[in-house]
Symmetry: C6
Subunit: 272 residues, 6 copies
């Protein structure tokens, strides 16, 4: 007995319920000031630490639609700006998510921008300085953004390589906010809010996360993100034992290395 | 006198007979808990050890259609999401296997995900966190998954290279289950069930497999999988001598190296 | 309550209000002489130092439309010259920004030309010598530029690599103007004009910028551009504290390196 | 006075006359057993040693059409599965050789599979295990093979490199048959059957072939195949002197190296 | 008040006024002899030394249209030969510049041929030997050149690398003419003719050019071409001071290196 | 007053006048024997030594059309076999030169086969063994060659690299003929026949060629081909002095190296 999957226009994706987000510093104020001054925003930070949630929160605050694009190796400027489709013997222009955001005064969030092909970083340049225009060369038009439009991008400095770096000519168009894992107290609160488990278990999960984060660089590429803790908590609340839940949703998610796995599992056994 | 090959819609591919699968640990419980909590699942393990069979078993249990995609170097996001086709002067949208799964609340299983192009791993990100949406940028729509939809991916950690690795930002969205060859007793039972041979022959085949698995790393890239044992058993039950059957379906399948072949054949001769 | 984004033809993008620009040397005279003698112009200099603003100023002076193309890795000659689109069963030619500029006697400004694919630098060769023609091979035509047409390109010598260099056969077709950051006095005036802050704060921002520029080569890829100072000033005038504003719009925009960030923040703390 | 070249549908390519093939070992029995048990077959061996002839022989025995695909660097999954063509304003699906084989219950023989692009090896995975299905993602269908369908692939282990290797996940789906040059006696018989020359000449050609095969690894990449001997024999029977025939159809075909050529020619001079 | 840019068919681009060209050696006689004997011509020499002007001169002498193609990395054989375009539901063949030259008996000049993709050098092979035909494979036709047709190519030996070299099988189809900078006396005359400046200034510009040419290899990739001298002369005659003119149109055009720039500017200061 | 360039169907390109060719060894007999026995032919040898002329001669002898394809880096199997074109809303198949040759029983000559992409060498495999069929996968047909069809390929062993080598599985399908420069006596006769010059001059040109051929490997990539001698002779007979003719059509065609050029010119000065 399946429901039918719902399909929406991106510009109609308003967030109606306040997304749970607790500010760590002045990131909310700075975002609002930059938005007011029409300066685009760059979010930096590791995976799963809350960048997407922050954007959802800001979209809810500003009452703007949030159009998110997960960038990747094959993402081209055309994917962002739009393309022609043949329909009834005519070519019809279909706005891409960026043009759609500019046209509708939405927030456009380009996640992991450095993964995209180079033309995508360049296509945002005229939007990201005081011109605030989107040249749509294929239709021979220039789209002028209204005051509502907001551009945000993210990237993870830990993953940067020489090949995939944000050029200075791109970086220097943005105000940059740095994100990190929340404090232990806040992270415990988040886990309890997201999955229905008790304080003590949540604290031990956070403790476990800190242990893995300390292993970053000594065998682990990355420590457990808040998201992984929520996964473990959810499995536990669905009846899986804490040790199995940590193993399957944290240890195995972090690494494939048998020795590293054994080490992490020992850490979790000492806690649960 | 040929039958006619039958053609089905992927979302109609329900598995009606229980696929033979014996659990090794708590993998069935964890899969069910993750499914209930809407967390996607990652299967890790060597080739031919039963990952596909496990998925067939879970699809049968959950009474969902199973849509499997074998990933490869040239698999793009469009292959998964869908594309436009020109028909009668109109462009018509054809859902790819991923959109098809989301729309019909099926299980989508992306086999060997790391083989695919990078954009495919990114296209599953919004489906693999609590948003559970599939942005279909080419049609300008966002598809929201129902509770029925389930996403599973697999990869073989033994094959990972620097170039083909699962990014942390992808890994950390999944609960991860590790698979390995079954125990000797269970493997013997599997062989007897799949091919009609006697207990003693099945035991000797398993013994032979263990010998080859011990050679992994010392000349063999991989040991004999359960599948290869079933091949040998089936040839034997079709009248081929055990030595020939082992040579053709195990030794020759594992390696091309003449010395290695001689060594393995000697092992099989000592057993049969 | 969104306004509707306005869309314009590129050749109608006349600049009606004088863009604020103060000449550093004889760059305005040389540009006018080269334009009169129909020699194309090459602007060299670091990001954010005012090349784009200079072009806007010259376009306003000459009362010509300014058509800017931000070049990138995937920009091809076709993107500049034009392409055929299918419409009503016919193919229809759409001029690219370069052909559009030649046809309408506009200023065509190719920003960061070396980023483009090699065919783009070659397509401008016949336009950039005394032939002043644009071969449009796909339509089998040669377009002769009128006296109004002006070609300008820019690049940042600091970013040049062996792979991305301007060939001598291209360079030697242009008169070259070098740009650099404005003098402290001028830069202070610019900041005060662009963001509404007082003299002392503007001076300290410029001082801070000079400190970061001195770090270029010793850990920083590039120093703070004038644009970054304007960002900081605008955040301050929107109520963010100077230290936070410098951190978020200058330090974080310049680097991801934790030690470098600490060093730069210390510099800003000593000033504000 | 030219005949007109005949054009056939691949699935109508039945072999009506028994292709001359003499079994070396139990390869015919194993092929038949594997076919009966629906296990796909992998042929290994050097060029020109009779793999293609063996497949023709088996197709004749089983009375199935044989559809051969010579794989190469640019062969994609679409080339095997099929593609859409525009016809009369409609897109029309054209089965590729693999879909054609599945649909018509033919033998599909993928020659030198490792030369193909990686997606082709993956597209055969679901056909090569007990699912025996061909997902045709572009038409949104899954094709179920009947019992008639047979899949065979070949490769030459001598040519393998790290880049072009058959993955274990592919290999371990096949029963593998190894081929080599026939025995001297059998090879002499083959030459006499294929070209009309006498016993003594055929024997000397085989002797010559053995000499070149011994040079493999010491200057020659590969020794003379049976096919080359047949070429020489056919030239001789058309009136060319044995020395010239060996030079032109064996020595020159094997190598370009002047010293190696001189050495091989000396060998042939000593024999003829 | 813009004029309208004029658009011409390439084969109608006859040069009506004698282009100013003074022969250095027997290059005009050899060109005429080669043309008479139907041997194609290869021009070698540095950028801006007059190769294009020579071709314009010869086209004017022979009263043939001159069709010039600036070659680049992405130039394919199709770009030269032609392609099909869809028009009114029909595909219509559009001759490329090479086919257009053959069909109309024009001079086809492929500038910097080695920059083009390899298929372009091969497509000219049958045109460049005594067959003098252009196979147009896409239309299934072979075009036979008339006696009027002339093929010329150019390249700059100074830029050759292993990757971008003219193959012997291409080179050996052409008669090759070497070009170099004109003598001091001739170059002075050229500058005076092209820009309206006096003898003494022209002489000093030429002196300056020689100084920079001597620096080739010791910091400069290339010395100042005649074209750059003309640029400087034109700026001077438009009112720019000689020092500024030399700086902007010669020094800055030659190099970005600050020390090299200082050195060159010192040279110019000593002269003007 | 231009003639109009004539355009022919490739299969109508019969050679009506006997092309001047003098056999060096038994190459004509071997070609005829191989043709009779339906074995394809491989021509090896340096550029400009007469391979193309030999093919023209054989085509004239056999009274078959000769369809030549100059292979290159971007030549694909589709270029050889054919492709679909849209015409009047229908897709229409256009035979490539290979299919055209098979269908019309012509001689197909693939010049410099190793330059082509790998799929082209594979597409000729089924045509180059005793199957003599051309699978046309895009139309779902297999074309059977008649006895008239003849396949010949060429390559220059001197240019072979690891990347561009003829695979053994390709080589071993062909009878191979080696070509070299003609003897001095024969080459003198060729030059006199092709260009109208006297015996003594022709002899000296041949002597000069031998000198350059001796320099191969010591600074010259390749010696002067017979074609270059014909060029020089033709320029001389058009009134250019022998020294100038040798310089422009031999020395400059062979090398760009100034010292090498000086050395070669000295050789020519000593002779003329």
């Amino acid at each position: 007995m399946n429901d039918i999957a719902k399909s929406l226009k991106p510009e109609e994706c308003f967030i109606t319920d306040e997304p749970y987000y607790e500010a760590v510093g002045s990131e909310i104020d700075i975002f609002l000031a930059a938005y007011k001054q029409k300066i685009p925003i760059l979010l930096k930070g590791p995976t799963g630490c809350g960048k997407t949630r922050f954007m959802e929160h800001m979209a809810w605050r500003l009452k703007k639609a949030l159009i998110t694009v997960s960038c990747h190796d094959d993402l081209t400027a055309s994917d962002l700006v739009g393309r022609f489709l043949i329909s009834g013997g005519e070519t019809k222009w279909i706005d891409g998510p960026l043009a759609r955001s500019v046209r509708n005064g939405a927030i456009c969030y380009l996640d992991e921008i450095v993964e995209a092909r180079k033309d995508t970083t360049v296509v945002i340049h005229p939007l990201a300085d005081d011109r605030r225009v989107l040249p749509m060369e294929k239709v021979g038009e220039v789209l002028e953004a209204t005051d509502d439009f907001c551009l945000a991008i993210s990237y993870n400095p830990g993953y940067q390589s020489v090949l995939k770096d944000l050029k200075q000519s791109t970086r220097q168009r943005f105000v940059a906010l740095e994100f990190d894992y929340p404090s232990a107290e806040l992270e415990t609160r988040i886990i309890k809010t997201e999955a229905d488990i008790d304080q003590s278990l949540a604290e031990r999960l956070v403790k476990f996360a800190h242990m893995t984060r300390n292993l970053k660089g000594s065998g682990l590429e990355e420590g457990a993100s808040t998201r992984l803790l929520v996964h473990a908590a959810k499995l536990i609340s669905a009846g899986i034992s804490p040790v199995d839940a940590c193993h399957t949703s944290i240890s195995q998610a972090l690494t494939d290395d048998p020795e590293m796995l054994a080490a992490i599992n020992e850490l979790s056994s000492s806690l649960f």
